[in-house]
């Protein structure tokens, strides 16, 4: 349900609100937040499913976004909590960096498998838009992922 709703938001709502033709990437944000909230395993699975949802609506080879989503979800889940700890600001920074890395990784993967046209676009504005927009939406996205996973407590919440 959460993935379907995110796909609807990504395809029906976000294209209406763009900045100089750049659109936010809610599906990749979902993968990153899944890694933050659920750990590396859940991050990889949710990232794969979120990426596959994106692959359904784009024209590039099927599986590219699924691969990027699963890798990013797993990496964020592995790194945060073990090597990166901190409060809200650090989590948002982690989200921003992960989104930027995932977006750039998609271009690199595309060039590796022959989609060389991906390297012809202006990557920096796209990365900045996706990263900054994701950082702003990350608190809401993390709550949504926790609700979708039925988590009663965030992994970094030691109050209970």
């Amino acid at each position: 349900m959460l993935l379907a709703g995110a796909l609807v938001v990504q395809t029906a709502v976000l294209p209406q609100v763009t900045y100089r033709g750049r659109v936010l990437d809610v599906m990749l944000l979902l993968a990153v937040c899944a890694g933050l909230v659920g750990g590396p395993d859940r991050g990889a699975v949710i990232g794969f499913l979120a990426g596959a949802g994106t692959d359904l609506v784009v024209q590039t080879p099927f599986g590219m976004w699924a691969l990027v989503g699963s890798v990013i979800g797993w990496c964020v889940g592995s790194v945060y909590g073990s090597y990166i700890v901190g409060g809200r600001v650090m989590r948002q920074l982690t989200v921003g960096i992960a989104l930027a890395t995932g977006t750039a990784g998609y271009v690199v993967l595309g060039r590796l498998i022959g989609q060389s046209f991906l390297g012809d676009v202006s990557l920096l504005p796209i990365v900045l838009t996706v990263a900054v927009g994701g950082m702003i939406l990350s608190p809401l996205a993390m709550r949504a992922v926790a609700w979708g996973f039925s988590l009663t407590r965030m992994p970094w919440d030691d109050s209970q």
């Binding site: 609807v8 209406q16 763009t18 659109v23 794969f48 202006s122 838009t129 996706v130």
Partner: protein, 359 residues
């Protein structure tokens, strides 16, 4: 991760039936949702555009007012030119021209879904005769081509998409090249232009419509901005500005054009003679139109054929490279072209004489 790699491998190996069906189904399912969202979000989108792009809109408004005043003054002259071009096209049976193809008007209902693709979605689909590969234009010029079609929706790859390419012709010099998008809405780049071709800023660029091209000839693509030599390829690279603003499209026209299928295989026939043993003759490639629905206008192009190929035991009948027409056929084609040019010049002289007589 390995599942994702397997999916990528399957897609590359041509197992696109499943993935294509899944994508078409998704487009079908999400289509109505996106239409509703487009209707709901349009006031917010307009407000957002007004905030972020006010200066650009104001400048474009002023530019369009100026262009409209100039266009109104040249309407009569343009109508005369169109009549002349139409007469020449009919005279030379140039049926690949876009002006002779039917069109379907469609509304743009959604914007690009990804930061790496420049595509739009239309509210018409296969029920309206639209097929994958058909060119799309808007008013002044080329918008892109259809890449995905379902019953009531179709997705169009814009000319500014990084993976888009089209054969083009510089109007002034007649030189041809390949125009490619680069993800930038403001510029495209033409490659393989001869280095000794004089390229003038402001020169118009149209689709070439050559044999095998996916686009009919004569559709305006853009105007030249600058040119520079490419030391690696030995050609020129020409930057052009698209005539269509792909960021502000509302209505487009899908050109119901299907390119003719070029069969390059030589066809060997056998003739008999009372005085000589049977000799193999070879005819040369003809273009055929695909077996499409008769209710839709398709453009055809007849390539001159020749049966004067030299007798040869080889199936290609060529003296040069395999499959190449022999010099006699090339000479015949050159003669046909010269005769056509002579008829055009004679027609122009006749029209000019009539115009002077009227005055």
């Amino acid at each position: 991760m390995f599942t994702a790699l397997a999916l990528i491998t399957l897609d590359f190996r041509g197992s696109t039936g499943i993935f294509g069906s899944a994508r078409d189904t998704t487009l079908d399912v999400l289509g109505p949702v996106r239409s509703v969202a487009d209707w709901v979000m349009s006031p917010f989108r307009n407000a957002w555009s007004g905030i972020t792009e006010f200066d650009e809109l104001e400048a474009e408004n002023a530019r369009l007012r100026l262009e409209l005043e100039s266009a109104e003054n040249s309407n009569l002259e343009l109508a005369n030119f169109r009549r002349i071009v139409r007469e020449f096209e009919l005279l030379e049976d140039l049926r690949t021209s876009a002006s002779l193809s039917e069109r379907v008007v469609a509304r743009v209902i959604d914007e690009p879904l990804s930061n790496f693709e420049r595509t739009i979605e239309l509210n018409k689909g296969s029920n309206d005769g639209i097929e994958v590969g058909m060119p799309v234009e808007a008013g002044r010029g080329l918008v892109g081509r259809v890449v995905q079609v379902v019953r009531n929706r179709s997705r169009v790859e814009l000319i500014t998409d990084a993976s888009f390419g089209v054969g083009v012709r510089l109007v002034r010099s007649g030189d041809i090249g390949v125009a490619r998008g680069n993800g930038d809405a403001e510029f495209m780049t033409i490659e393989f232009v001869k280095v000794d071709t004089v390229v003038i800023p402001g020169e118009s660029v149209v689709t070439s419509g050559l044999d095998g091209s996916l686009f009919p000839g004569g559709i305006l693509v853009g105007t030249v901005v600058s040119a520079r030599p490419d030391p690696v390829t030995g050609f020129q690279e020409v930057d052009i500005a698209p005539v269509v603003d792909t960021d502000r499209l509302s209505l487009v026209q899908v050109v119901l054009f299907t390119p003719p299928i070029i069969d390059n295989r030589p066809v060997t026939t056998t003739t008999t003679s009372t005085t000589a043993p049977p000799q193999a003759e070879t005819t040369f490639p003809v273009s055929t139109t695909p077996a499409t629905a008769p209710t839709r206008t398709t453009v055809t192009q007849v390539v001159p054929t020749s049966t004067t190929a030299p007798p040869s035991s080889t199936t290609d009948g060529a003296r040069g490279a395999p499959g190449a027409p022999p010099p006699t056929v090339l000479a015949a084609r050159a003669a046909d072209t010269f005769a056509s040019a002579s008829r055009i010049i004679a027609s122009m002289n006749a029209w000019t004489g009539q115009a002077e007589a009227v005055e």
